[in-house]
C-alpha cells in the first residue's frame, strides 16, 4: 500500500459454492480517485463491491486505510414500497444507529437536493430519481470519505441519470470524496472516472480510461467486436451501442 493509497486489493477471490465469481483480482485506489468498475453481465462487479464492503466472504487481501469511512449506494433495493416508511424515517434510522445529530438529515438532504416534501413522502410514492437521491443521501450520512456506487442510474431515465452524476461530481469536488462506481455506461466512465478496472472473471485491465480501454481490451472483456462501442462526450444525448453489462 502506497502512502496515498486508500484501498489495496491483492489476490482477491470470491466463490459461491463451486462457482468462481472473482479470481485473483488486484488493484489500488488512491484518495480522491474515481474508480469505475466495468465488465459484462455476471463478471462479478456487484460481488466485488460487496466484497469491498465485507458483505460477502472472500479470500485474499482487501486493505482499507484506517481513516476510511464508507458510504454505499446499492444497485437495487428489493424493498416493499408499500411499507409505511417515509424517506425521513429511513435517514433518521441510520442517523440514530450512527448516533448522529438529527440536523445531519437536513444537511445530506440539501446536498443531494431532496426537498422537505420528499423527505416527508412515503418511499412508495416518490419517483425513481428521488429514490436514488434518497439512497445517496443515506450513503452520505456519517460523512463518509469513500462512496461506493453500484450502477447508480440503472433504473433512471436520461435526465435523472444526468442529475445523479452531477450530484456525484459536485460531492466529489466539494467533499473531496473517493468514489468507486460500477457502471455499464462507458460514456460515464470517460466522463467521471480517472481510473477504470475492467473485470471479466479475471483482471483484464486497470488504469486511466483512455490508456486501458483499448478496442482489444473491450473485445476481450465483452467478447464482442470493438465497433459496438460508441464513445459519447460530456452531456451529449445517448447513442445506440453503449457497451452493455448489468450485473
Amino acid at each position: 500500500m502506497t502512502t496515498r493509497s486508500i484501498l489495496s486489493v491483492r489476490g482477491l477471490k470470491v466463490h459461491f459454492g463451486s462457482r468462481k465469481v472473482i479470481q485473483n483480482l488486484g488493484f489500488e485506489v488512491e484518495a480522491g480517485d474515481t474508480l469505475a468498475i466495468i465488465g459484462p453481465n455476471g463478471a462479478g462487479k456487484t460481488v466485488l463491491l460487496k466484497a469491498l464492503l465485507g458483505l460477502v466472504p472472500y479470500e485474499g487481501e482487501i486493505c482499507w486505510s484506517p481513516t476510511v469511512k464508507l458510504g454505499y449506494v446499492p444497485q437495487k433495493i428489493a424493498a416493499d414500497r408499500q411499507m409505511p416508511i417515509r424517506v425521513h424515517d429511513l435517514l433518521s434510522a441510520k442517523a440514530h444507529i450512527l448516533k448522529l445529530h438529527p440536523r445531519c438529515i437536513e444537511t445530506v438532504a440539501a446536498m443531494v437536493g431532496l426537498t422537505p416534501e420528499v423527505l416527508r413522502a412515503s418511499i412508495g410514492t416518490i419517483s425513481g430519481g428521488q429514490f436514488q437521491k434518497a439512497l445517496i443521501a443515506f450513503a452520505l450520512l456519517g460523512e463518509p470519505n469513500v462512496l461506493l456506487f453500484d450502477e447508480p442510474t440503472a433504473s433512471l431515465d436520461e435526465l435523472a441519470e444526468e442529475r445523479v452524476y452531477d450530484i456525484v461530481e459536485q460531492l466529489q469536488r466539494e467533499q473531496h470524496l473517493t468514489v468507486i462506481l460500477v457502471s455499464h455506461d462507458l460514456s460515464i466512465v470517460y466522463r467521471a472516472a480517472n481510473k477504470v478496472l475492467c473485470v471479466s472473471k479475471d483482471l483484464v485491465c486497470f488504469g486511466p480510461p483512455r490508456e486501458v480501454l483499448t478496442p482489444a481490451a473491450l473485445e476481450a472483456m465483452y467478447s464482442a467486436p470493438p465497433q459496438y462501442y460508441l464513445h459519447r462526450h460530456g452531456k451529449e444525448p445517448d447513442q445506440p451501442g453503449k457497451a452493455a453489462g448489468h450485473d
Binding site: Y72, P74, A78, A79, I85, D89, L90, S92, I97, F138
Partner: protein, 258 residues
C-alpha cells in the same frame, strides 16, 4: 381465586396486547405475519407434556417455543431457508407431536386457552417479559426499519443481521408465550396478526402504524374482556377477543387509502 389475581390476569392480558401490537407491526412488514399464527403451535409439544405430567404449561410451552425458535433461526441461517419455510417445517412437526402428547380431555384448553387468575409471581414475570419486548422494539427500532428496507444496506451500516433476526424471533415467540395461556395455541397469534393489519390500514408513517396497531390490539383485548364478562358469557374469552379484533379490522376498511 381472588379479585386481585383477576386484576393481574386482565392487566397482563392488556400488556400482552401492547407487546403484540408492536411486534405484529414489524412482523407484518417483515412479511412473517402468518408466522405468528404458526409459531404459537410450536409450543404444542411442551404444552402437551405439561398437561401429561402435570407441571406449569407456561414452562412447557416456553421451553418448546424457545427450542423451536432456535431451530427456525438455525434453519434460516445455515440452510438459507426463508422464515416461512423454516417456521412451516417446525410448525408441522410440532403440531403432530403436540397432538400425540396432549391428553384428549385437555386438547380444547390447549388450542383455545382458558381465562384463569394468576399469581403475583406469574404476573411479575409477565410484566417483565412485556417490558423486555417493548424495550427491544424501541431500542432496535432503527435497526429493524433498516433491515426491513434493505438487509444489505443494514449490514453495510454495521448492523449484525443474524443477531437482530434472532432477537426479533425471540421477542416474537415471547409475545406468543405471554398470550398462550388465555388465548390458546390456535388463537395466540391472532392478536399479533389482526391488529397489525388494522394499523396498516390506518397509518401512513411508521410511528402512526406502531401506535394504531397497539391501540387496535389493546382495544380488542379490553372490549373482549368486557363483552365476555357481561354479554357473551358462554363463549370463550379468546374467540370473543379475536372476533372484536376482526370487527375493528373490518371497521378500518371503511377508511379510504391515501
Amino acid at each position: 381465586m381472588t379479585e386481585t389475581s383477576t386484576v393481574y390476569s386482565i392487566v397482563l392480558a392488556l400488556l400482552f396486547a401492547v407487546a403484540a401490537g408492536l411486534v405484529g407491526s414489524f412482523a407484518l412488514m417483515k412479511r412473517m405475519i402468518l408466522g405468528a399464527d404458526v409459531i404459537s403451535h410450536v409450543a404444542l409439544p411442551g404444552l402437551g407434556l405439561a398437561f401429561l405430567w402435570h407441571f406449569n404449561p407456561l414452562l412447557g410451552g416456553g421451553a418448546a417455543l424457545f427450542l423451536g425458535t432456535l431451530l427456525i433461526w438455525q434453519l434460516q441461517k445455515k440452510e438459507s431457508f426463508s422464515t416461512e419455510v423454516a417456521i412451516g417445517v417446525v410448525f408441522a412437526g410440532s403440531v403432530a407431536i403436540g397432538a400425540a402428547l396432549t391428553p384428549k380431555e385437555d386438547l380444547v384448553e390447549v388450542f383455545f386457552g382458558k381465562f384463569e387468575q394468576i399469581s403475583g409471581f406469574t404476573f411479575l414475570v409477565g410484566v417483565m417479559a412485556v417490558a423486555v419486548i417493548v424495550y427491544f422494539i424501541l431500542r432496535f427500532k432503527s435497526a429493524l426499519i433498516l433491515n426491513l428496507f434493505s438487509p444489505e444496506l443494514a449490514a453495510a451500516t454495521g448492523i449484525k443481521l443474524n443477531r437482530l433476526n434472532l432477537l426479533f424471533l425471540l421477542a416474537f415467540s415471547l409475545t406468543v408465550l405471554i398470550g398462550l395461556r388465555f388465548m390458546g395455541a390456535l388463537l395466540a397469534g391472532a392478536l399479533i396478526i389482526i391488529p397489525a393489519a388494522t394499523g396498516r390500514r390506518l397509518a401512513d408513517s411508521i410511528w402512526m402504524f406502531l401506535f394504531a396497531s397497539t391501540l387496535a390490539s389493546v382495544l380488542a383485548v379490553g372490549i373482549g374482556f368486557l363483552l365476555n364478562a357481561f354479554v357473551f358469557r358462554n363463549i370463550g374469552l379468546a374467540p370473543t377477543i379475536v372476533m372484536v379484533s376482526t370487527l375493528l379490522f373490518c371497521l378500518s376498511l371503511i377508511r379510504s387509502r391515501t
